[in-house]
Amino acid sequence: MSATGQSSGTRRIWAVIARREFVERARDRGFVISTAITLVILVGVIVATAVFGGETRFDLGVVGEESHAIGEQVVDAAAALGIDVSLRVLPDEDSATRAVREEGVDAALLDAERILVRSGPPAELVGILQVVSLRVRSARALQDAGLSEDEVQAALNQPPLEVRALEPVDDRRRENSAVAFVGVLALYGQLFAYGYWVAAGVVEEKSSRVVEVLLATVRPSQLLRGKILGIGLLGLAQLLLIGVVGLTAAQLVGSLDFASGAIATIGIVLLWFVIGFFFYAGLFAVAGSIVTRQEDLQSTMTPLTILIVGSFIIGINAIGDPSSTLATVASLLPPSAPLVMPSRIVLRETGLAGALLSAGVSIGATIALVPIATTIYSGAVLRPGRVKIRQVLRTERR
């Protein structure tokens, strides 16, 4: 008898189970299609944001010598405001009309008298145009009134008004908030979807009765462990794929200025998915093991749904106000920590110690929860119909 060979077989059982959970689901056409759609939408949003959102470059057509002179001043004035304006010299009004209508020119200045736009005027460009042309015409009027060149310059060269911001704009923080929002959204979707898969997978084995075949050869704890691990790995792989594709797309279109921050955020999201998934997976398995039909699953999952949706709402609010008492407390409680803590880390509301404390509490709670969840699952999974948890615990403790 090769006792060692047999026991090494037992040790690898959970890996065989996890592999099936991973492969069968990854192969599922619904999964492949939904992942593809997610990626397409993600890349689409990133590209669209880069192309259409926050446009700070304009094409300005100029007709006539004077227009050209004003145009050059507009370019300088715009550059000072961080706006990129390029000039197109056009021969006459007809070609200017065509350029505005068909060739993507944002506005055209005709003989320094009229501004031609297609429909809604681009406010920033037209604003600068008006200011510059007002200045040019004021200077001319002052010269006509007999002032010398120097007097005109002295009159017009007034310093701009000082702006004092109560809360200075922090580009990095704004970008971090956006990334945190995407992260919380992804974590919410992923925790919910993969938690549901654990529950539905348990019900599938129960309703198809294959669980009786399985439990004749493996322990319920092995089956549960393999299932959670396989589904969790798939969730992690999908999240990683989405992160890598999103980051690559953002990098290619240049819409992220702080790529290193984004990579760190993806890392934080992946880590908290793992922590959150393992916390919730055992509970979802229990919700699945006490029913036999998929239709009944919704009702037993309701407490978990409320927990996750509630944590998600706190998590979204925490992005706007990460130092609130609610956010601080929620970031330490195991059910809500995975959806609240990542934002607080990304927004630098908490240091390494806080993050480790929160992760430690969640992992500790998971370790405490696993044996209880396994006991209920083991006791309930072979019982037909709707099973009462209290009843299972009573008989399992015998």
Binding site: Q6, S7, I13, I17, E24, E212, A216, T217
Partner: protein, 298 residues
């Protein structure tokens, strides 16, 4: 020597006694039929034997050792309530189950292909299980019980749902298993089939073993004299009017009757001739079904 032993198994569900001190054993290479009316405890006993249910008392032993998970992984089990992953492909499913029983990847694959072919579903190996007919799903289920070269087979109603060709295929497979020394115990309501396939039988009723042993010996021990008589055009109830004769089994044109002491076979034949045109008359030995009726009734 007994390979699989069930000893003193008891199990209650609330107030219901499902098993009451059930003991029987199966020898190496022996095929045992496990027979009893619905609700008698067959499924409970088999579930306990494969470890998916716990007994309140008693023990299951394999070659003298109490079974544990390590030993049970070498058992082949087919549950009464069939169970497979509906969306998994047949071959993947069998490979997976073989691996759970401890086979390595390569061995699992070749065994899965071999077993599916053996049970006549080799050509459906790449299809999703739910697309197969119920009969073919049943063959996949049997493949699942056999795929890991089990040392013993415990099959709960393996023949139900099979067409006559399927019954022949499975009978052949089980005979080949016992020829290789694998003990087989299966439950069935098809007593003729049990009689044809099995050397031994265990009869259970209301959680208790009511008879067990070699079928031939059980039949020989049954001293009843039975006569099968079929008469065309006989008035209804003519047999019931005969004295010293009890109807054991009713047939379309007659019955199997048990003769009391002092009643001769010739007396029944005379009465039959008087009642109508005799189509069939024979002295029969008690079948397994007759024994079953007797022990279950009493």
């Amino acid at each position: 020597m007994s390979a699989l032993e069930l000893e003193g198994l008891s199990r209650r569900f609330g107030d219901v006694v499902a098993l009451d001190d059930v003991s029987f054993s199966v020898a190496e290479g022996e095929m045992v039929g496990f027979v009893g009316p619905n609700g008698a405890g067959k499924t409970t006993a088999m579930r306990i034997a494969v470890g998916v249910m716990q007994q309140d008392a008693g023990e299951v032993r394999w070659r003298g050792s109490p079974v544990n998970l390590e030993i049970r992984r070498r058992f082949g089990y087919m549950p009464e309530e069939r169970g497979l992953y509906p969306k998994m492909r047949v071959l993947d499913q069998l490979v997976y189950l073989a691996r759970l029983h401890g086979l390595d990847a390569g061995d699992a694959r070749s065994q899965a292909e071999r077993t599916a072919t053996l049970l006549g579903v080799g050509d459906r190996a790449r299809d999703r299980t739910e697309t197969l007919s119920l009969g073919n799903q049943q063959r996949v289920q049997l493949s699942a019980a056999l795929v890991h070269r089990p040392e013993v087979l415990i099959l709960d109603e393996p023949f139900s749902g099979l067409d006559p060709v399927g019954v022949d295929v499975l009978s052949g497979v089980l005979r080949a298993q016992t020829a290789d020394g694998v003990p087989v115990v299966f439950s069935s309501h098809q007593l003729e089939l049990v009689e044809r396939l099995c050397e031994s039988v265990v009869l259970i009723d209301r959680g208790r073993i009511v008879a067990a042993g070699k079928i031939a010996e059980l039949r020989a021990a049954d001293r009843r004299r039975l006569v099968r008589v079929e008469v065309a055009g006989a008035p209804p109830g003519w047999l019931d009017a005969l004295r010293g004769v009890r109807v054991v089994e009713r047939l379309p044109e007659g019955a199997v009757v048990e003769l009391d002491e002092g009643v001769r076979e010739g007396d029944v034949l005379d009465a039959a001739r008087a009642a109508g045109q005799v189509r069939h008359f024979s002295v029969v030995r008690p079948s397994l079904a007759d024994i079953f009726r007797t022990v279950v009734r009493s």
